[in-house]
Symmetry: C2
Subunit: 482 residues, 2 copies
């Protein structure tokens, strides 16, 4: 029996709630069957390097709800639930019984058990305008097509690749043909493929610091050395990139994550020049490039030059729904032969559900996607304005904002000497989720070097309903400013 709660230190949830959630889930899920003895308060606290109090609070709560019982001299043990985990491999329980039990104990659990009252999560979506009816009817239409059960094109459905290419040409200014688009069910898979087809002679990847870490973490795991490069007012410090000897660089030029600057046209040209002189590659992450609230969207870097050495990364997670698992990259023509060789070498199959791919294709092709983006942009713009106004109203001179004007978040810097992590915990205790900026510095040393910065937070406005924004910021100011 493995008792191994993973405690998160990001300040979003107090330890005792994390522990309570963990045990409840494991007990309901059958991993901790009836009569399992739990570790003593002291020993679990020791194992987790935390104080005894959160463990004690969690156990008390579990006792009061009947999940565990405290017995004299034998400590805490699990109470009998539906006896799901008792089924032995060899026993072949009657099918109907086993079915019933699974149904009884396994509700579909969301990823994030705690419900925040005010959730300024950095990347959740607002589904209030989602065109559910159109979406359902697109799926229903495709469910009637039995051909879609078969293998699909390993590179992604040709129809969806064409829709993506047309969309990117029209709305993001890319130079893009369908054959350049590679669709994948997962961003790590795409990163891993990309890591294999980039020139192997230079395995150093420059990244923006602070920045978004999913892709760099994947490259690091695939043998790349990650080189954090600092930012200037108008984006990445190209001189430092040049000095770093990196062979590729990962950037978010349309709206830097998390600081929000747009990379200046001078920098864009300097970056392309760096690539031309060094043979380097540029990985352009454009996850929120469609969302700009003043003026026109900033065109992509990829489209600035024909046959540019830019890999453009995109996704439907933010613009449609994360549950789809449809991501893509647009490869420069000169990387296509390497991709095709790799696909043969690895026996690649398609990795995104064909149903989702085809439904998305028709969603785009019939104009629903462009319409949805327009409506979402207006909605997010209103939420963005509401957030700015509320911060001005309730924080006044006690805070400064940057990174506004685009995307799904902004940065709030507090005039305070309190540690950002403690402030985030205080907010969480009041039911408010905010994310400390330290989340975006690469590595221990990066976070360490900025430990004495004024506390700064990423406030996302995707998840929180428009009408709660003002109230949430008012509460946050109350909690923090007293």
């Amino acid at each position: 029996m493995l008792i191994n709660p993973m405690l998160s230190d990001d300040g979003k949830l107090p330890y005792y709630i994390q522990l309570y959630d963990y045990f409840k889930k494991e007990i309901l899920g059958g991993t901790l069957p009836a009569d399992t003895r739990l570790p003593s308060i002291r020993s679990l606290a020791g194992q987790l390097y935390i104080s005894a109090t959160p463990v004690e609070l969690a156990y008390q709560q579990l006792v009061s709800e009947g999940f565990i019982a405290s017995r004299p001299r034998s400590g805490f043990s699990v109470q009998p639930m539906h006896d799901f985990s008792g089924a032995e491999a060899a026993a072949d329980p009657p099918e109907s019984q086993s079915r019933m039990l699974i149904q009884a104990v396994l509700p579909i659990t969301p990823r994030d058990p705690q419900k925040y009252v005010y959730d300024f999560h950095i990347s959740k979506n607002d589904f209030s305008l989602f065109p559910h009816k159109i979406w359902r009817s697109l799926f229903q239409e495709q469910l009637a097509n039995p051909d879609l059960l078969q293998y699909g094109d390993p590179q992604g459905e040709p129809a969806l690749r064409a829709s993506i290419a047309a969309h990117l040409r029209q709305f993001r200014g890319l130079h893009c043909l369908p054959e350049q688009v590679v669709i994948g069910g997962d961003q790590h898979l795409l990163c891993s493929l990309l890591g294999h087809i980039l020139p192997g002679s230079n395995r150093r990847l420059g990244i923006e610091d602070p920045g978004y870490h999913l892709l760099p973490a994947a490259f690091a795991r695939n043998g790349y050395e990650i080189i954090p490069v600092p930012l200037q007012e108008d984006g990445l410090d190209i001189e430092q990139l040049r000095d770093s000897g990196a062979g590729a660089v990962y950037i978010s030029p349309s709206h830097q994550f998390p600081c929000g600057m747009i990379m200046s046209i001078a920098k864009r040209h300097a970056l392309l020049d760096w690539a031309a002189t060094t043979g380097g590659y540029i990985i352009e992450d454009d996850y929120d490039g469609e969302f700009r609230y003043h003026g026109r969207p900033v065109p992509s870097l990829q489209g600035l030059m024909e046959n540019s050495p830019v890999i453009y990364m995109g996704s439907f997670a933010q613009s449609v729904a994360p549950a789809l698992c449809v991501h893509y990259m647009v490869l420069p023509e000169k990387l296509l032969p390497a991709y095709r060789n790799l696909a043969r070498e690895l026996y690649l199959e398609h990795s995104a559900s064909r149903l989702n791919q085809i439904a998305l294709h028709f969603f785009m092709e019939r104009g629903h996607f462009a319409r949805h983006l327009r409506r979402m942009r207006l909605l997010y713009q209103k939420k963005h304005e509401a957030l700015l106004q509320a911060i001005q109203l309730y924080f006044g001179d006690h805070a400064a904002v940057r990174g506004q004007g685009a995307g799904f978040h902004l940065l709030l810097r507090l005039v305070s000497s309190v540690d950002a992590r403690r402030l985030a915990e205080t907010a969480a205790a009041a039911g408010i989720r905010v994310t400390p900026m330290s989340y975006t510095w690469w590595g221990e040393s990066g976070a360490e070097a900025h430990r004495n910065d004024a506390p700064e937070f990423i406030l996302g406005f995707g998840a929180i309903p428009e009408e709660r924004i003002g109230e949430g910021i008012r509460r946050l100011a109350e909690v923090w400013l007293g």
Copy 2:
């Protein structure tokens, strides 16, 4: 403009048809716009290392169908199609027009453009008994649930993990709790994660030779040395594995691919003993373990011992449908902490469509999956018998069969001195797909060492309808035996 047809040498399609298909697709897809000059026959043939004849035949066919034209002194060039690729990034074509054009030129194309008259493909499914109605209604039910658009559990839906664990315990004899199941949208992704969590000190993977190459290819790309280990009558040569110094081994013990033997219980124990003494890990691929046509299914190796150092790999591609992109692995408990750390380090998100995961969960939980497997087993058993009988009838002493009794294919060895590849080409020209056994030897040297073996072929019976099997084998015998 990149003109780079990938010619396949597996003998399934003549070069001229591959070339014709390639150009037609690129022209219709807009990659080769009107007036593009094609390379001369001679230069394309030279680039591809083939004779001029196939190129000439392909060009002739394209001219006759109006895709290209031959002009005096300027060679071959593309004829005007729907002007899809002409849209400039900057031009913002009117939306309605661009939509219409995409629709006109992009039918949903299948992976495999050639339709064989008799398709003995090694891994395609038979959908004749697929419960389309139940399947659609499960999806329709879930489409009404807007929560399923949000992020899911990165490890896979807890409900589906529980259904998988229950199924594997009951039908494959595994020791398996839901927390051990990791669901992924792609097998490479799972392989890549697994490569990261196996002990890093020994990056040598033993594989069955001959065997299935997708997973070894993925491990090879992730820095593993692949060590081919020969087979004996009852499975992998454990002594040679022991001598090889491998730190992990990849096997298909229930029905070896492609030779079909069941690993003997003595070998299974020896293999577990190897793992215990060396600290090695065993990766068990059980892709067709549910399909045995005489007697009971062979229980999994994983279930032979509690807490065995076995990673069990499974998928719904064969048992339900490849289009779903739902695969999984069952990790030993002792690898769970490493997996969880990795998931945090890489910011893992779920990689399989949540809709597909939940639909599959209910498909299993309501008993449809077990019922479907029973019906499929009977269907495949009948096809398997029909294939054996037809081979006996039409080939008699001219061929020998092995690997029968389970799964979706058997091996046919021909008494002949003709090269297997040439025989496969002859069959393909007659509309019959068979796959030379050489496909399953690891590396150039493996294939080379067996070049003088009697010609042997993998005949899959998944794709071909039952009623065509006899006819297909009769034709094959005609073509080969004359």
